[in-house]
């Protein structure tokens, strides 16, 4: 059987291709990122509002709507020089919303944002309650706003 041997020309081409890929990687490393502040804020607000309505229904306060909750997040990254963009577990979002009684609420949420546009948010348990809550029937269920996931479009 004839074994194909890598010729010097082929090696040269491979080296050139590897070099081009490295240069391209370096050039693109500083480029635009999929995770931006408007996208994080635009996703967290509606997701929290929906889940908060769900939680209030579980606790026996139906009738609230996501529009009435009107969650308004303000997000930033705590790492200096990150310019509030890019994936990371250092995203902090200050969320203001209106509860069932019409009173304004405010809480700090810690977000772990992944590069694929999905994040895990942890709410302040003093305001949103513990991980497990009792619903109106007395059963222990997961508190939807204690920790939750969300995703946004990265295209």
């Amino acid at each position: 059987m004839r074994m194909p041997r890598p010729s010097s020309g082929r090696l040269l081409r491979a080296a050139a291709a590897a070099g081009a890929v490295t240069a391209l990687t370096a050039a693109l490393a500083g480029c635009a990122t999929d995770v931006t502040r408007p996208r994080v804020e635009g996703s967290l607000g509606p997701v929290f509002a929906n889940l908060y309505v769900h939680q209030q229904t579980l606790l026996g306060h139906p009738g609230l709507t996501p529009a009435a909750v009107a969650a308004r997040p303000t997000c930033h990254r705590t790492t200096p020089g990150s310019h509030d963009k890019g994936a990371g577990s250092d995203w902090i979002c200050q969320v203001g919303w209106t509860d069932g009684t019409g009173r304004p609420q405010n809480g700090k949420f810690e977000l772990q944002v992944r590069s694929n546009g999905c994040y895990q948010a942890g709410g302040p348990s003093k305001i949103v309650g513990p991980i497990m809550i009792r619903d109106t029937a007395g059963t222990s269920v997961i508190n939807p706003v204690f920790e939750f996931d969300g995703c946004f479009d990265t295209t």
């Binding site: 480029c31 990371g88 295209t155």
Partner: protein, 301 residues
């Protein structure tokens, strides 16, 4: 069967060849032959213990997984829908979908795709199959189609098994969407199947990758392990938050495209881009494999 015979034989002849003998043209060389070779490849695959074992594992593993998950209190929260596995049976298939993309999918497809060409080298049977009036390109397309069939079968079996395991063992409670709204059971079931269907393009991309490595290295271990290692390296790149422009070109990124389907206002951008990327891998890898096989010198054993 040229002699006129009993009605029974005539009936058989008519069933076998519906075209009257006068109208028979020489068979088109391309498609018919590929179909014959494809049937043989599928028959060979179906006879392999590895193929059967893989399908059996895909059928049973989700049930074992759900039972094990049901017994422990800690939830796999790091993966999407991990926190809802006890709350809704529709969360189970989505959790497994997110988890399988990490390395299970490349493994499942390359078990066949990475071996289907290299096994002929291993057994020294290239000369045998090529003398059977089938050209190299016909054998190539037949083997490629057989590998793609296996990939599709594995994905279908695994998806249906996960959904069944979730619904039977956990229940058909409404599912939390990725926007925090509740999806009714019927809609959730449809979305779960659609989400699994979006894994098919990248999975076929990995199949092509396995085929390419199988043809180039002529070794089954390299063809099977190669796609898994490449998949893990791509995962690592995404995990380390590398440049997003390159991440979009990786074959593991389209495995996340289903997230858009589960939003209250669905978005399909990642699915569109992911499909383009998958087709790109598919075409490129198959082109390399095809060229390599055509140019190969198969005169020895």
């Amino acid at each position: 069967m040229t002699t006129p015979a009993t009605p029974a034989t005539t009936a058989t002849a008519t069933a076998a060849a519906p075209v009257p003998p006068a109208a028979v043209h020489p068979r088109p060389v391309g498609r018919g032959r590929v179909a014959t070779a494809y049937r043989w490849e599928v028959t060979k695959l179906a006879a392999q213990a590895r193929t059967r074992a893989t399908l059996a594992v895909c059928l049973l593993a989700p049930f074992v997984f759900v039972v094990l998950l049901d017994r422990q209190d800690r939830l796999p929260k790091d993966t999407l829908y991990g926190r809802w596995v006890h709350a809704s049976g529709f969360a189970t298939p989505l959790l497994i979908l997110g988890f399988a993309a990490q390395w299970v999918f490349p493994l499942l497809t390359s078990l066949v795709a990475g071996d289907i060409f290299a096994s002929e080298d291993q057994h020294g049977t290239w000369k045998t199959i090529l003398t059977r009036s089938h050209s190299r390109s016909q054998i190539f397309w037949a083997k490629t189609l057989a590998a793609a069939t296996f990939t599709t079968a594995v994905l279908t079996v695994l998806a249906l098994s996960c959904l069944t395991a979730g619904v039977l063992l956990v229940g058909h409670q409404p599912l939390e969407s990725l926007s925090g709204t509740l999806l009714p059971p019927g809609r959730a079931a449809g979305l779960v199947l659609a989400a699994w269907a979006t894994a098919l393009p990248p999975l076929l991309g990995f199949t092509a990758l396995g085929i390419m490595l199988s043809v180039l290295t002529r070794s089954s271990p390299a063809g099977i392990v190669g796609p898994i290692i490449l998949g893990l390296l791509m995962q690592l790149y995404a995990f380390l938050n590398g440049a997003d422009t390159i991440r979009h070109l990786l074959l593991v990124t389209p495995f996340d495209a289903w997230h858009g389907l589960l939003a209250a206002h669905p978005y399909y951008g990642p699915l569109r881009d992911g499909t383009f990327v998958s087709v790109g891998y598919l075409v490129l890898c198959l082109a390399v494999a095809y060229t390599a096989l055509r140019r190969r010198d198969i005169t020895g054993g």
